[in-house]
Amino acid sequence: MTKTADVVAFERNVTKALDDGQLRRNLRSAMTTLSQRRRALFADAEAFEQLRAQGQSIRRRALSRLPELLEQLEARCTDNGIQVHWAETTAEANAICLDIIRRHGAQRVIKGKSMVSEEMHLNHFLEEQGIEALETDLGEYIIQLDGETPSHIIVPAIHKNKDQIAHLFHDRIPNAPYTEVVEELNAIARQELREKFRAGEVGVSGVNFAVAETGTLCLVENEGNGRMCTTAPPVHIALMGLEKVVEKLQDVPPLLRLLTGSATGQPITTYFNMITAPRQPDERDGPQEVHLVILDNGRSSIYGDPERRATLQCIRCGACLNHCPIYTRLGGHAYGHVYPGPIGSILTPQLEGLDEAGVMASASTFCGACEEVCPVKIPFTEILRMLRNEAYARGESEHDVKGHGYRYTTVEALSWKSWALYNTSPGLARIGSQILGKLGQHLPMIGPLKEWTRTRTSPPFAPKSLHQLAQERGLDHDR
């Protein structure tokens, strides 16, 4: 059967990831720690269920009024002195950032962690324009040193262990001594970054929650680098996907609790920043300009479909990654796209199109671990199934996901039609199971059976089916 390009690329990545024993050990150890911490924090199952029902309803309420909340957010931010920009595509968002940076004649941008900036490939874009964009989150800093992209949406360097980082620092940071002591590694990074914070001319950050009623941008972080990026340089650019808006300030505490608890098992992060305005005349610090760039990049199309909309409930905690048996085996890079794991598998095919990333929807056993931990109860398996349906849906499709029907082949469609015929024709099935019972152990190893038997013994087809045995025993089969 012919394989689509996304399938071929994914299979190559999977082989590479699975062959990397160090990667698998690093991931397993990190994921075990993260999930244990989360479980410890949410030990009271009933209280957690209540909290996540609340989280779900806050996010649903926000999405149900999304257009008006975004307008309100823009109005409040503007009142507060934050300049709001709308970007339909990542190219537009990059151009907006470049324009702001150029207007200030800036050469050095310092960045807090932002997955939207990864979605925009902002660093690469700025580099091409001769502007340095330095990551200041420790994990992001590590992978930037190594020329990599994040492998996790919360813990970007989770695929690396301490020893690998020790070598990396020694090799890439001038005059850095070799050390495997975590505190010393932190100190090396801290010293390097301190200088960069001083020299940064524009700060870029993400946004965890944007509050419509007050025009407040909330930023959750553990290292203080986010606060540095949003206060030290004279200009701050905040990047957000348009789904990040919430209605009221009082919506934030439950979501914050769910976010930090689900992500790292922390009751709260070390830093929680609420940015409402640029520096006021009577204030001594803070940026003179704050810009908010609100990115669509396919989100409004997701919003427009009631069954796909739940995708936008996500608060990017990463718990679905940490509990996914497939993410745990592969890590983030194998997915080949910015957002990996279960959330990536439902989001990316919708943002970039099934023909680009449809294979991600097949990277699931439907085990439901993601749904079980999701703090806002996203119905992952339902959305994944819908995407699989869309991948084969030709002509007009029910949900009109970009690239739908890309995986359709006459051969596969025919094989499912035959399967349906077999399973709706008792006479045919009777003959079929008799043949299977006689020849089961001598079937040619082709197609699915070939894949199955690469690492397993052949299925033990029984000489007589349950149908036959039930009949022989005279079981009632009336009607």
Binding site: R329, T365, T424, F461, A470, D476, R479
Partner: protein, 251 residues
Amino acid sequence: MNDPSPASIPRPGKVYYFGTCVIDACFPQAGLAGIELLQREGVHVIFPQAQSCCGQPAHNSGFPDEARRVARHQLKAFPKDDPIVVPSGSCAGMLKHQYPHLFAHEPDLDEVRRFSSRIYELSEFMVKVLQVRLEDRGEPIKVTWHSSCHALREMAIIPYAKTLLGQLERVELVELQNERECCGFGGTFSVKQPAISAAMAGDKVNDIVQTGAARVLSTDCGCLLNIAGTLGYRQLNVPTQHLAEFILERT
């Protein structure tokens, strides 16, 4: 969903039995064991010969029309109001929880909902409805347990299965380290993403071996097909068995 004891329906005189396609082709003895356990409790078991597959393979693979066609065939094969007992958490999950999704925009949704409300997984039915008490007559044995994901999460019937296991006095249960983690079967996933599936099955098998158990038990023959196949390929001698067969053998 997870109420441990009280009977949700009065003890019925007769039930339908949905054997599942994996059991039909590969593990008919497990299917028969489930039937015998029900008959032993004085329940009349009806096995419609027209039944086939629940439709999950197509439902999970992007072919909802074919899944619905096969699903409607099951609706016809089990026409009366009797409960339908299924010796699999995964197939029961499909029949009970997925059918209403699959038919969400179909004219026969109400009929589907009525059908789905009659579905019970076997161990759930034995504990919740029949309130079975088992008497262990077997030799002492150390076993380990594999929770299928759909039995664990979608059907939430693992407490019932373990209640039955707990009634067997001479059976020592050694839990897996990662009991809640998928074995990598996932139906068509196992052949569409064979490398990932094999990696997951490999880890599951290692987990099983380190328990030192003499047998692996489960409510789901799909998982057992995957686990037994992997154990066999690696020439590891830990037999796998459906819970129903294990219980019948010892009681």
